[in-house]
């Protein structure tokens, strides 16, 4: 219905008010981009955008700033978190949709959604007080004694296990995104028509063959979308990792070293930035994070829309 062809003046003003409210989304997206760009212009002007991204220098004392260490930390924690989370999440989705008896499906679904509703700061604090000591005492020494002895891979597990490191942060991050990925995968699995599955059973396929050759191919777009969405969430997660990462600007080959991510740097240093260049560099980090997660989330949305269109056909 065209907006402007309304005879009733009240109706016209109401439509205008709602239109304005809807446009706030555009203003917000545009506003965030423009404001962050303006605030980081000082840093971009001095260091250049690409040099800023590639420089490993993060030295507030000398006013030298580069994003490489923070981007590296973000990249490593996100990758490891996804490697742990994806198989578990898909396993959960398979269990809930195909294996669990009906009386269990509801409660487990609710439990997973509750896990998703717990605020990230609770994960972070639990990680600091409970998980990090367990990691330092049991998990990390065990990993060093087993896989740490292997050539090449062993380099990932060097150093003294303190629990405040990339590995612990990645594990917490993965626990955070598991419910998220699982519930989207479950929803995609549920869209597979029963009749297609039953045809496969009728020709003698086992349950696993039905899942592997019918359900997964049928729902792969939705699952990809869910994974991309979790990736976007993981990139921007702050509080779950802020407690256990140590905010140490370095590029390290060992997962048992403290590091920094974009979000952790912002959370720890934003209110302490004492020079304009320092603050501007932090804004530049925020801009990088915004652009990065925006692109990832847009890709996720693209997959999910495509999946939706396919199912509705």
């Amino acid at each position: 219905m065209p907006i402007l062809k309304r005879k009733n003046p009240v109706d016209f003003s109401f439509s205008l008010v709602t239109a304005l409210a809807a446009l706030t989304i555009l203003f917000l997206v545009g506003g965030i981009f423009i404001v962050l760009l303006r605030e980081s212009s000082l840093a971009i002007g001095k260091f250049g955008l690409f040099d800023f991204l590639l420089s490993t220098e993060w030295n507030p004392v000398n006013n030298e700033f580069g994003a490489a260490t923070a981007v590296y930390g973000t990249f490593v924690t996100t990758c490891i978190a996804l490697i742990i989370a994806i198989p578990v999440a898909i396993g959960i989705a398979v269990f809930v949709t195909e294996i669990a008896p009906d009386f269990l499906k509801g409660p487990i679904g609710i439990a997973i959604e509750l896990l998703a509703a717990i605020p990230s700061i609770i994960y972070g604090m639990w990680g600091l007080f409970t998980l990090a000591p367990l990691m330092a005492r049991y998990v990390e020494p065990a990993l060093q004694k087993s896989v740490g002895k292997l050539p090449v891979v062993g380099a990932l597990f060097q150093g003294t296990p303190m629990g405040i490191d990339l590995f612990t942060a990645s594990v917490i991050l993965s626990i955070m995104i598991i419910p998220f990925t699982a519930s989207i995968s479950r929803d995609s699995f549920n869209l597979t028509p029963g009749i297609v599955k039953e045809s496969a059973y009728a020709v003698g396929a086992t349950k696993w063959e039905v899942i592997k050759d019918v359900v997964l191919p049928y729902s792969k777009l939705g699952v990809f979308g869910g994974i991309a969405l979790s990736l976007g969430r993981a990139l921007g997660e702050t509080m779950a990792v802020a407690f256990v990462l140590g905010n140490n600007h370095q590029i390290t080959s060992s997962l048992f070293d403290a590091a920094a991510t974009i979000t952790v740097t912002l959370a720890n240093e934003f209110t302490e930035a004492d020079t304009d260049m320092y603050l501007s560099s932090l804004f530049n980090l925020a801009l990088v994070l915004f652009a990065l997660s925006f692109v990832v989330l847009a890709i996720a949305k693209f997959f999910l829309l495509k999946a939706e269109r396919r199912y509705s056909r």
Partner: protein, 279 residues
């Protein structure tokens, strides 16, 4: 081993693995909730809600300022975010239904739902904190409202789309203008759904920490002045948990317990309403 047996074995192994994955996922839920519960309940006492923080080393301090601040910030964020979200969702589902504009805004809103909340904190800092020269409760409320708007907007849009079009036509046939149809017919039909959306968006922002770090900041004293820095539970948890004192850690657990319980209750209430209304 023949082929059938191998296929059956393969199937059982795969099913066992995914069952283990589910157990693994539930294990963390029980572990985290149990830990928060055990540490939290032990730390609860009336003084926590009645007293303001005492200096480190002095016993008997509480978190009254943080509880009040958290409620203030969340309430004002809701008052700003919910009307904008509902009206925006109305535009997408009613006046602009099916248009390209509505689709694009809807997609952008979906992306905004997952944009890192700390980025929104920096945005509001540049907009409301730096120009004014000081942290303020208002800046915190606006930052949370910015997170709420896309959430409420999207659920409103979805819920309004669920109301059958024939219902609107019945109202049109009686000569009602569109705004009256929306307010008196469509909103009523979708009320339970929109209310759930609001509940879930409150649950979402009540646990947010990152956007408050540089907007409402923190305040060791009791304050209800939204124009100045104001304390919130989440930022207090961050500060206390990272701090060196044992009393601080105990209070951080208590605050975490309260916030987790409230958020989980709101979430469960939302689910119950959906189940009851859209069965």
């Amino acid at each position: 081993m023949n082929v059938e047996k191998k296929r059956k074995l393969e199937s059982s192994i795969a099913l066992l693995l995914s069952t283990l994955a589910a157990v693994f996922g539930l294990f963390w839920l029980v572990f985290i909730l149990g830990d928060v519960l055990i540490h939290g309940i032990g730390a609860l006492h009336p003084g926590l809600f009645l007293n303001d923080p005492a200096p480190p080393g002095v016993s008997g301090g509480g978190l009254r300022n943080a509880f009040v601040g958290q409620v203030l910030i969340t309430v004002f964020a809701t008052l700003i975010g919910v009307p904008v979200g509902i009206l925006g969702g109305t535009f997408l589902a009613e006046y602009a239904r099916g248009t390209k504009v509505a689709r694009s805004i809807s997609i952008l809103a979906d992306i905004m739902v997952s944009v890192p909340s700390i980025v929104i904190g920096t945005f509001i800092y540049a907009l409301l904190v730096r120009p004014l020269g000081h942290f303020s409760g208002w800046a915190g409320a606006v930052a949370l409202a910015v997170i709420m708007i896309p959430v409420v907007l999207r659920t409103t849009e979805d819920m309004l789309s669920l109301v059958p079009w024939t219902l609107r036509e019945a109202a049109f046939a009686l000569g009602a203008p569109y705004y009256k149809v929306i307010i008196q017919v469509v909103y009523r039909g979708a009320a339970a759904g929109i209310f759930t959306g609001i509940l879930l968006s409150i649950a979402r922002v009540a646990g947010e920490t990152a956007p408050l770090l540089f907007t409402s900041f923190n305040n060791a004293f009791f304050s209800m002045d939204m124009k100045g820095p104001i304390s919130s539970l989440t930022v207090t948890i961050f500060q206390y948990a990272m701090g060196p004192y044992d009393e601080w850690h105990v209070q951080a657990w208590a605050a975490s317990f309260m916030i987790t319980v409230v958020i989980l209750l709101i979430t469960i209430l939302g689910r119950l309403i959906i189940k009851w209304r859209y069965k």
